[in-house]
Amino acid sequence: MTAPLSREQMAWRAAQDLADGSYVNLGLGMPVLAANYAPGEREIFYHSENGILGVGPIPEPGYEDPELVDAGSRMVTLRQGAAVFDSAASFAMIRGGHLDITILGAYQVAANGDVANWDPLTPNKGPLIGGAMDLAKGAKAVHIIMRHNTKDGGARLVTACTYPLTAPGKVNRVYTDLAVLDVDAGRFIAREIIPGLSRDELEARTDGPLIFADDCCDLIAPELSP
């Protein structure tokens, strides 16, 4: 069996589905890596919920502006054609359904499209909602990047989320380290699986209705350095 995808490879795979001309919000963690891997000829406007449409690359050393940051508080630049605005305007854009895709991390995705990504249920640690509920509810499509299983082998693609929900019934697609799956009509539909992983094993590692697309094919990502 091919090794499960690395963080970078999952982000790379998610990035291949970002269409030319799309408006995209990338969540913290793995999702934000996707900006590094979208095919260069595509023009994509990355939205940052603190008030940027058109996030550019990380600045060269010496050109950082501490007052220009993205939603991960990283100093960034603006791409050509970018706009900057305040948070109320930014979330009006999100909630109003103007973003084509948001890519989020998650703890769990259910076969009915529910997603849970904000409360780790860790004792003595408070919640971290941020903008995820707005993004999951507002974007035209919700894509999730997450490992297929928890560290102790438990399922993250589930029949019903046990973690508190971020939004019900909104997930369209999930990129894991083992597969690419659509979420439709109460089922996970495997579109791509890493070479050598059997369908039985993917089913065993998934808790929820799982079918395989007729054209289900190999999930192959290039080697990428972290």
Partner: protein
Amino acid sequence: MINKVVRDIAQAMAGVTSGASIMIGGFGNAGIPAALIRTLSDNDLDNLTLIINAIRRVDECEPVLFAEQRVSHVISTSFRGPDALPSNFERQWIEGRVSLEIQPQGTFAERIRAGGAGIAAFYTPTAVGTPLVEGRELREFDGETCVLETALTADVALLRAQKADRFGNLFFQGTQANFGAAMATAAALTIVEVEEISDEPLPPEQVHLPGIYVQRVVQVSR
């Protein structure tokens, strides 16, 4: 003649009293009014309500504010710090010494915008179907279930901008506007720390927030 520029931070913060509700702008390091935040401890205020997107920023600026239990209520969207150990704020929350209202960032921003815009309440679909709306008033519009959210106002707003003129007009650098711009509209007393006071009036194309929303401006060098 209009002149909203005050001499120093003490004058800027005059009249902010214990028990006040205080909105604080900032996202990441952009637009955080760090100098004004630090004054909250200096002035021996307590029983404060803080309305801020990421409460841990306050802990980073002025840990003593929570250590000395000057805050009794927090409205925020992001809570956890990046560290394994709980922050001063988290410890007080765990011990039940500070109450917490936590909201989606967009709802938080919209409630503040509503507060400044004279909109008493609104229905939003965000958070419907999640534990956050348990026990809340829901209503369907065109087949979409929404939750009722009320406007948020405050006694004071603290923000940071790059530049101001004597009219209180603000120019925000980069992503400095974030929550502060709406907070300025929703507070009775808006106090702004700025990098630079412009001797000339800001040209209209540089006015990101009109001075009508700003009561005091103070220059603070980082």
